[in-house]
């Protein structure tokens, strides 16, 4: 008859096991937490890029349809731009302080506003569009009478995204 004595875990074994489990648990928890943070960061940055690129596309399309740059003058850099569009309406792109976003981000943050004057007189709410709502800085440099360089920095909680574009006007001719 084989007598097999059943041994219990020793204290050392238990301590080692508990330590290992705790260690692995901590690592796993940290990994999950890190994944979550990374995901959130990437999500914010991706959103920032997507919004910036969309706004950039919109901005470039608008400027490209222009016929004359009124402001800035050639060689000048300004934080706003005024130009005439294809039917001679006047459009201004300018910055408006965004207090809500500024409070969240703890810095001066602006909205990029596009307003079109169609000569109906007075302020027309329908003619105003917000192209971006978290922009930190914006510069328009007129390089020639028919082209402008746009330099903008867009921000959110997780970083900044800067774009630089050289946009040429497409409508250059007069009317016969």
């Amino acid at each position: 008859m084989c007598f097999q004595r059943r041994r219990a875990f020793t204290v050392v074994e238990l301590v080692v096991t508990v330590c290992l489990v705790a260690l692995i648990g901590t690592v796993v928890m940290r990994l999950f937490s890190s994944v979550g943070t990374t995901q959130q960061n990437l999500s914010h940055q991706a959103t920032l890029q997507m919004e910036s690129r969309r706004a950039f596309d919109h901005l470039v399309d608008q400027i490209r349809m222009g016929t004359d740059i009124v402001r800035p003058a050639t060689g000048e850099t300004l934080p706003y731009m005024v130009f005439k569009d294809v039917i001679n309406r006047m459009t201004i792109l300018y910055l408006e302080p965004n207090n809500d976003r500024a409070s969240v981000l703890g810095q001066r943050v602006y909205k990029l506003v596009a307003y079109q004057n169609d000569y109906k007189g007075g302020y027309q709410a329908d003619n105003e569009k917000i192209l971006l709502d978290s922009i930190r800085q914006l510069r328009f440099t007129s390089l020639s009478p028919t082209s402008v360089q746009v330099n903008a920095t867009v921000v959110n909680e997780k970083g900044e995204y800067q774009f630089l574009a050289h946009v040429g006007l497409m409508n250059l001719g007069g009317i016969e």
Partner: protein
């Protein structure tokens, strides 16, 4: 057995957990990445489509250049290209003459990239100028219509109609936009620009946030106020018959480094003031006669001052132009200065002669009546003295104008300006002759009046002598009678 099971029990859940964690991470990041990539891809495609279309458009422009407008590929029928591969996508093209307009063409381009089609439209104007080859093709209008609007050869031209409307709308808004643009150009701060645009003026931040140096610099930046360049006067346009009162922009002459423009401006103002004051003075006389003399005198004084200023400024301008011409960096720059100065000087000389003429117009119409109305030689003599003084002044003006004409004789000037200079001197000469004729007539009238007055005096003297003789004879007769009476009385007493 149970020990084995216990070991397995630890590993399996941990392995599953790890696998799940990794899968979760990969899935999340993969999805996120894919989303971002799609967005970037679309954004890039949006720009890339435009580049494809613009490349196709440039190829059309190159063809027009290569074949000349008279031999353009779309001379008789629309020129088309279909599914031409370019930069990973392809494009369709249709170019045709703009209906009803010479030297214009409509370019329709439809791009296909990554399954998305986009449409672009250009209306171009051909500038058939061999001397301006870099500016042969001018874009009249660019638009991004719907893809469905891409025309077939015999199909409708939906966009063309819209373009006409847009061009009409553009023309209708042209003046308003020009006026607003001119206003905006004068504004140097953001707030005034936004106000003039009719947009909402933004309020400042409600809280204090740190401001970077670059931001501070940008906020403090004042927009450049460009020089106020006015449009040329109608008479100054190339199609006009010739220059009128000159317009020279305000500003420092960057070519010659002197103040020619400023002096020209001053000169124009002074000569125009001279004409205006002279005209007002004579209008006053015409309307109110003698009663208008005090008011007219004031205007004449203003005119005299303006004339003096005109002459002084003319001298300064001619001197200054000589310096500018001597220092001109090129023949073209020298000719530009000469033409500008000549035009301004001739214009002011013309103003001077206009002012002189204005007075002598009055002289011609009223000369006869003046002289006939004066019945004494003293009055005519007084008038004659005034006219002689005017003759001297006019002679001096003519001499001075002739001298100035000599000063700018060698200057480069347009044929119109040259003709105007000749006309101006002729006009001054004519005015001199008018006053000389008037002086001659006044002298004749004076002589006539003097003769008449002499005759009248002689007659009066003769008449006086007769009276005296008669009175003497009467007195002698009386004396004789008295003597005879006395003699008779003496003889009677003696008897």
């Amino acid at each position: 057995m149970s020990r084995k099971f216990a070991t397995r029990g630890m590993v399996l859940p941990l392995s599953l957990l790890a696998i799940l964690a990794v899968l979760g991470l990969v899935t999340t990041l993969g999805g996120l990445n894919q989303g971002l990539r799609t967005q970037i891809y679309r954004t890039n495609n949006h720009q890339l489509s435009f580049l494809i279309a613009y490349s196709a458009f440039s190829r059309v422009c190159a063809k027009v250049h290569a074949f000349s407008w008279a031999n353009r590929p779309f001379l008789t029928e629309p020129y088309t290209e279909t599914k031409i591969p370019l930069q990973g996508g392809h494009y369709d093209l249709l170019v045709e003459n703009t209906a009803g307009k010479d030297y214009q063409a409509d370019v329709y381009i439809r791009t296909h990239l990554a399954g998305i089609s986009r449409m672009y439209f250009w209306r171009i104007r051909f500038n058939d100028d061999l001397l301006d080859v870099s500016n042969n093709i001018i874009v009249e209008l660019y638009a991004t219509p719907d893809v469905e609007d891409f025309p077939t050869i015999n199909g409708p031209r939906k966009i063309a109609g819209q373009v006409e409307e847009m061009l009409a709308q553009r023309a209708a808004n042209q003046k308003k936009s020009d006026v607003l643009a001119a206003e905006l150009m004068k504004s140097v701060n953001t707030k005034s620009v936004i106000e003039k645009m009719g947009a909402r003026v933004p309020e400042d931040f409600q809280q204090e946030f740190p401001v970077s140096v670059t931001e501070e610099m940008m906020e403090a930046r004042v927009a450049v106020a460009p020089p106020d360049i006015q449009a040329p006067l109608a008479a100054e346009k190339p199609t006009a018959p010739g220059p009128s009162s000159s317009y020279i922009g305000i500003g420092y002459d960057s070519i010659s480094g002197n103040q020619i423009n400023e002096l020209s401006e001053k000169l124009t103002a002074a000569s125009e003031k001279l004409v205006e004051a002279t005209d007002k003075a004579w209008t006053e006389i015409d309307q109110n006669g003698v009663d208008g003399i005090p008011a007219a005198t004031e205007q004449w004084e203003i005119a005299a001052e303006a004339k003096q200023e005109t002459y002084e400024t003319l001298d300064s301008l001619i001197d200054e132009s000589k310096t500018g011409i001597a220092e001109a960096p090129s023949i073209e720059a020298r000719e530009a200065i000469e033409e500008m100065v000549a035009q301004t000087v001739v214009s002011s000389m013309n103003d001077i002669t206009t002012a002189i003429e204005r007075g002598y117009e009055h002289l011609v119409t009223g000369e006869g009546s003046y002289l006939e109305g004066l019945t004494t030689s003293a009055a005519v003599e007084s008038l004659l003295n005034d006219w002689k003084a005017a003759e001297e002044r006019t002679q001096a003006d003519l001499d001075r104008l002739t001298e100035m004409a000599g000063d700018i004789q060698g200057y480069s000037m347009t044929s119109e300006v040259s003709q105007k200079l000749t006309d101006t001197l002729a006009s001054a000469q004519e005015s001199l002759e008018k006053i000389q004729d008037a002086v001659a007539e006044a002298e004749a009238r004076l002589a006539e009046l003097k003769e008449l007055e002499a005759m009248a005096a002689a007659e009066q003297a003769a008449a006086s002598a007769d009276v005296a003789e008669t009175e003497a004879a009467e007195e002698a007769a009386a004396v004789s009678a008295a003597a005879e009476e006395a003699t008779a009385t003496v003889e009677g007493e003696m008897e």
